[in-house]
Subunit: 322 residues, 2 copies
């Protein structure tokens, strides 16, 4: 597991330098917002996946970096608009952009970042890449809209939940892998494998995220437990819990969730029940199924050291504690 960490540490300065260079294209008023968001840190998971996918499929050029950055730009654009909509105060421990720079500049900075990312991708002269990222952003927006539509709608079932996860999270991670593969000139079959790998890693990543929100061992996450429950997000641990209780109890909880009338001690009880029943672990197991599919998709990848790194990423997501 140390090799992937070494890889991240080696590549991170290169990715960040490239990000910084690309941001210089932006109008100064927009750039300031973008830098605040992008330079706050982050795992850079999407750029790393683009780099690894490209290299594993034989692409050695240094111009993978701007492409990799464009995926981070898209991701951060969605975060910027997300924070506004959630009225979030903090992101990665820092004050969110809209509170510092105001709503106007922040919405427009998100738009400019989306455009900058599209522009960078267009430089590569590979139209399918443009199509791929445009589709991913359409899906991300659709997923977020669907998620909001399902807030406090306790009828949300597993299938609706999984479709939201696919749209809002997994599809951009899929795009990150596909862009790397396209840059490497992958053929159709290989492209499908890259897409399958990214999609399944992305599904698992979000499922683990949603499990961690109910996991007492995830203290390092920097946010209090049960945030999703408080916001009325119908994630899988809660869906499983509601399925497990008797009809009367379920009806009572459904009504309270819908009306946003759960008291603090009731929320605590739900969280404790989910933990004692191990439902968060059940969600992690389901994430594990997606990771197994991701590993299968990797099988056809050439035997390069990057393939082992991609396999390690699978294990990192599987054992993620924060």
């Amino acid at each position: 597991m140390s090799k992937i960490r070494d890889f991240f540490y080696e590549e991170l300065p290169l990715v960040n330098a490239s990000l910084y260079r690309e941001l210089a294209e932006l109008n100064p008023l927009v750039r300031e917002v973008a830098e605040h968001v992008l330079m706050a840190g982050g795992k850079r998971l999407r750029p790393m996946l683009t780099i690894l996918s490209a290299r594993c499929l034989g692409y050695a050029g240094d111009d993978v970096y701007p492409l990799a950055c464009s995926l981070e730009l898209l991701h951060s654009a969605t975060l910027i608009h997300d924070d506004i909509l959630d009225n979030a105060d903090l992101r990665r421990g820092r004050q969110t952009a809209h509170l510092i720079f105001g709503l106007h500049r922040t919405v427009l900075a998100g738009d400019a970042l989306l455009a900058l990312a599209n522009k960078i991708v267009a430089r590569y002269d590979i139209p399918s890449m443009n199509y791929c990222v445009a589709e991913a952003i359409m899906n991300t927006a659709a997923g977020e809209v669907e998620e909001i539509a399902q807030l406090r709608r306790p009828k949300t079932d597993r299938n609706v939940y999984l479709e939201i996860v696919r749209l809002k999270t997994a599809d951009l991670i899929r795009a990150a892998c596909c862009c790397g593969a396209m840059l490497a000139g992958a053929d159709r079959q290989m492209l499908e494998q890259a897409a399958g790998f990214g999609l399944n890693v992305g599904m698992a990543f979000q499922l683990v995220d949603d499990a961690l929100d109910y996991d007492a061992d995830s203290g390092l996450l920097g946010k209090p437990l049960g945030g999703d429950l408080r916001e009325g997000k119908m994630t899988l641990p809660l869906i499983l819990y509601l399925k497990s209780v008797d009809d009367g109890k379920r009806q009572e909880l459904l009504e309270k969730i819908t009306a946003d009338e759960l008291r603090d001690e009731e929320m605590k009880e739900i969280i404790l029940n989910i933990q004692s029943m191990g439902l968060h672990l059940e969600v992690r197991e389901e994430a594990g199924n997606y990771l197994d599919l991701a590993a299968q998709a990797l099988r056809l990848f050439p035997e390069r050291k990057e393939k082992m790194l991609l396999e390690e990423i699978i294990e990192v997501v599987r054992s993620r504690k924060f």
Copy 2:
């Protein structure tokens, strides 16, 4: 002048049908917002310019329509975000989207429309087109941010104003013409002419718009006179007026504009002075200079009937009364 009207009437149903078809790609929750905004009408100036540019340069294919629509999608995405930021209640006489659908869906619908437009453009397999629209959206966002930064900053001079107009309005109209030319396989020189035509028409279009805001004859515009003054927008008629008054008066007005302390009768007086001094007409003359440049850029265009229609568009912008 009737030929261009005939052309618009003929093409409008085709453009709208294509728009409608493309919107079907969107998630239903997003589509509803998009349809509300797009089906409210509008001049469809940008799609018409794309169609005319393509045809004038010899492109006869029907697949110009989705491309033309993508420019309207980009334009409406910027309008959607704009309305939220302006906290506008009405757009084209209808209630604005965010008041009907809420902030969340509206911001995300804007993002999805931007993405859909990029996706449509990517279908054409001409990477320079993707680059062109991405750059135009970056510029539009930058122009809007700059415009907001200049609100109630009476130091705004003509050059700053013109740069904002170029970014926020003219560049997307330039892109509309360039995309048409690129689809027609225009060579570099012809592409530059198309860009020059679009940019100058766009500059003039916005200048006339800003002149109309002070023009008593523009009653058909559907919005009260002096809206820009009320919002603290430093447009050219006001810049010219501030230059024309003596130092003491200027200082007094500058301070009141900055502090948003102009009383209604003071605003009325400014509007009347601008009208009696003919400063709104001076702005139209300046728009006329840009239109002359647009006409020059057209000279190298082939002698097709579409060239005459593009020339008519110049005259339509020149004599626009609403």
